[in-house]
């Protein structure tokens, strides 16, 4: 092999130039190559989340999404799910920032009357093993834990407040803060959903 290159100015710049050039090409190329799959993966994730929380549908809710601003930075997203053009439910991407560690993003599916069909946690930073249990806690099917479940309950009729604070839902053991936050997210989603429901009904009926 050839001997080591001297550290002359030209050499230095040249070598670095070539390396960055090649790596630039490689990176740009890979970016282009993976752009599609990444976008697809993101979409799939969102769709999966929607699918999980609303009854079966055959439209593309992403196309019919409408957004509602809550404050300066955060918006709720509403994904209407329709079966043969009939609204069967709406997936609401809602959030709260009252979590133990800040924001919690929840996808919650409301049936047209506002009853909760299902929910899924999109993102959170709650403590693993404590707050993180909310992904499963509020959809327990065990009749003994009925009071913990939010499924098939309507925030308009049931008090979506943890029972410790006088509400109707039992909080996650040792994670009351996360539970309160979760309730807050659902409630926000519900409130906005009801507020905008009429509007939507008009536009889509």
């Amino acid at each position: 092999m050839a001997g080591k290159k001297e550290s002359t100015f030209i050499n230095m710049v040249l070598v670095l130039f070539i390396i960055t050039l090649i790596s630039g090409v490689a990176l740009g190329g890979f970016y282009e190559l993976t752009k599609e799959p990444i976008a697809a993966a993101k979409l799939a994730k969102k769709l999966n989340a929607i699918k999980e929380v609303v009854p079966e549908f055959n439209n593309n809710p992403s196309d019919e999404v409408y957004k509602v601003g809550i404050n300066a930075t955060d918006t709720l997203e509403f994904y209407p799910a329709k079966m043969d053009n009939k609204l069967v439910g709406t997936a609401v991407k809602t959030f709260t920032n009252k979590g133990f560690a800040g924001y919690i993003w929840v996808m919650v599916g409301f049936l047209p009357d506002g009853t909760i069909n299902n929910y899924s946690i999109l993102d959170h930073k709650e403590t693993p093993g404590l707050g993180s249990k909310m992904g499963a806690w509020f959809k327990q099917t065990d009749p003994a834990k009925e009071k913990s479940s939010v499924i098939n309950k309507n925030p308009g009729k049931t008090k979506f407040i943890v029972s410790k604070d006088g509400g109707d839902i039992d909080a996650i053991t040792a994670a009351t803060i996360s539970s309160r936050a979760f309730m807050d997210a659902i409630q926000t989603g519900y409130n906005e959903y009801i507020k905008n429901k009429t509007k939507e009904d008009i536009s889509h009926e």
Binding site: K4, K5, L16, I19, L27, A41, K45, T127, G129
Partner: protein, 194 residues
């Protein structure tokens, strides 16, 4: 040193984590479960092999003064590539590992092997070295991940071994990472002595 030794030394004798103590951040940061550990390990492994390969090919052409920047660029390229790939094909894992994926760039093992081995050796040994080190890293991460997951929530690779009421939450959290690794290394030291 023959090729076999080049490959196997990273597994135990010079295991990057248990012996050399390099790349501690991902080691501790992502090992709250076995699968995360494995994922991180393999991602690092990929970067190690590729960068070792490329660096061993080009290192003679690189002047000393820009050696480090050049290596970093090469490594960073592969890191970004693996990041793209993971985002596209294993989005959940990508989200779990979070900031630790870009941080593979600064993982001391990668740069360390580039400097200490790849830049002085031919392509094949460099690849083997990278693979060995990467595998050693992966094994260590998976082991630590398994231990933490087991103690913390009674599972390994998501398979429940005992009821999670018996799980010690602390092992999933930061302190448990340090403590578990500390005792793992102590046990390994002890076994090696015996």
């Amino acid at each position: 040193m023959n090729n076999l030794q080049t490959f196997t030394k990273g597994l135990i004798k010079e295991n990057p984590i248990f012996v050399l103590l390099l790349g501690m951040c991902p080691t501790l940061g992502v090992t709250s479960s076995a699968i995360n550990g494995l994922g991180m390990g393999l991602a690092t492994c990929f970067v190690l092999i590729m960068s070792n390969m490329v660096i061993s090919m080009v290192s003679n052409q690189i002047p000393d003064k820009v050696k480090i920047p050049s290596f970093i660029v090469i490594i960073a390229t592969f890191v970004t590539v693996i990041s793209f790939l993971m985002e596209a094909y294993t989005p959940a894992l990508h989200a779990q590992l979070g900031v630790f994926i870009p941080l593979i760039v600064v993982n001391c093992i990668v740069l360390g092997r580039a400097e200490a081995f790849a830049s002085k050796n031919k392509v094949i040994p460099s690849i083997l070295d990278g693979a060995g080190m990467g595998l050693g890293f992966s094994i260590a991460l998976t082991l630590l991940g398994s231990v933490r997951e087991l103690l913390g929530s009674g599972k390994v690779f998501g398979i429940t071994l005992f009821n999670d009421t018996y799980g010690m939450l602390i092992f999933v959290l930061a302190p448990g990472a340090f403590i578990a690794l500390g005792y793992l290394i102590a046990i390994i030291n002890r076994i090696k002595k015996a």
